[in-house]
Symmetry: C2
Subunit: 263 residues, 2 copies
Amino acid sequence: MAARVPDPGDPQRTGRSPGPGGEPGPYGEPDGAPGSAVPSEANDDSRVAAAPAPARVPDVAIRRLPVYLRALEELRAEDHEIVSSADLAARTGYSSEQIRKDLAYFGAFGTRGVGYRCDVLVDRLRHILGLDREVPIALVGAGHLGTALVRYNRTRHRDVRIVAVFDSDPGRIGQEIEGLVIQPAEAMEAVIREAGIKLAVIAVPAAAAQEVARRLVEAGVTAILNFAPVSLQVPPGVVVQNVDLTLELQSLAYYIRPEPATG
Amino acid sequence: MAARVPDPGDPQRTGRSPGPGGEPGPYGEPDGAPGSAVPSEANDDSRVAAAPAPARVPDVAIRRLPVYLRALEELRAEDHEIVSSADLAARTGYSSEQIRKDLAYFGAFGTRGVGYRCDVLVDRLRHILGLDREVPIALVGAGHLGTALVRYNRTRHRDVRIVAVFDSDPGRIGQEIEGLVIQPAEAMEAVIREAGIKLAVIAVPAAAAQEVARRLVEAGVTAILNFAPVSLQVPPGVVVQNVDLTLELQSLAYYIRPEPATG
DNA sequence: TGATGTGAACTTCTTCACAGCC
DNA sequence: GGCTGTGAAGAAGTTCACATCA
């Protein structure tokens, strides 16, 4: 039980959406896509680019794929060889039709009357999301939050992995977090270019976030996860996903019941 | 520039939606609503309850209100007395029609030909969101992330404020974060009941999250912000908003450009 | 028989366009 | 004239229902 909330908090987004259509095309590999980008400068919350790509995969669908992937990995760990969309529905809370439709954007991975091979589907999803090669990530801002994020990420994941941490505070530079030495902010561009990093996490104070974003983009970053409470302005083609504790709490406040649910 | 992403990551949600319709009704005060709740047990991502409430305010709209509120407070700080929906659009990235429509769910707060009085709209939004009284929040899990969240929250906000922190690690209990003493997990129910806390943040390991959620709900919590990477099962009427670093990074990976945007 | 894959119906949300009022 | 408030149109996403095939 539990209905779902849309997930608002997040702000801008600018990006072309790679994915093919319902056709057995290029499987929406994070490349093969247009190179151009996005449309408006508005917060549409669900629109993406009208790029050269034939049919678009809705962003909402992309955002569900990692959920499916996690469920599949759990199922695989429990020695399931075959899973049905109904199994995945039970684990994820999404409807089975929704799941089949999302998967179908990228091709036909299942067997009618049977289901999906767990390991095959895991591989497919990892490929679609671009997780079949390690995705190196830079984190900017090694305060309490940034540090917590690095620890969390590095003790668990290898597919999306923070590999560089930057801060402008001399007192932090040189310190180590989970084996990573905090580097000076000035080194940001060079390191990011060198390592070919395209994805970055911003965990700096609000006032510094926009400038950090600008520098990241200039250095080649095209996707940003932003924890600073500001709407970042980024050029077309750059994707920003925001996570804002305050906004989350404030919108949840709306749903609080007055009475202790004595009904 | 910057289109927007839907924000998927988040998981369940179960809740009745208070808000009135387009009518000048009860202004969607976080009460006045049904007491009952939710429909399905599925992840719908945008549905809420078909409760006694007349017309529903879409969850997506609720999630935008805090964004408007923040923009308004900025504008007020800049001594703007009157703001138009176009001003807010410029600040937030949402379209002016969208903003007017969202506000209109709760009544007519503006003046035709003029705009909205900044301070009036701030007050209205705070009231609609239930932020006109302080919203006390409990946080469970005082690890790196939990600690970072407490620090962030307490050094900034008074409207949504963490007032109690719990952990099960004896080594942490008794320690202080921003003036709050970490309390033992066993005290959770009593403290939450005593303080009438309805909103909680979960920052414990995945394995412990479901049980924590169960206890929180039993103690009277009806809205949860969950940082643990699991889909919490909660009874109807309880709202869960998830924030999952890994899912965010994995879906962002999809949008990474192969080439350094040399286009 | 049974579960996938998918067009069509439906629902929800957004944008348009303009009437209404200051 | 200008900006709000809102019905109507349109777009996007979800669910339904079933043909399809192992």
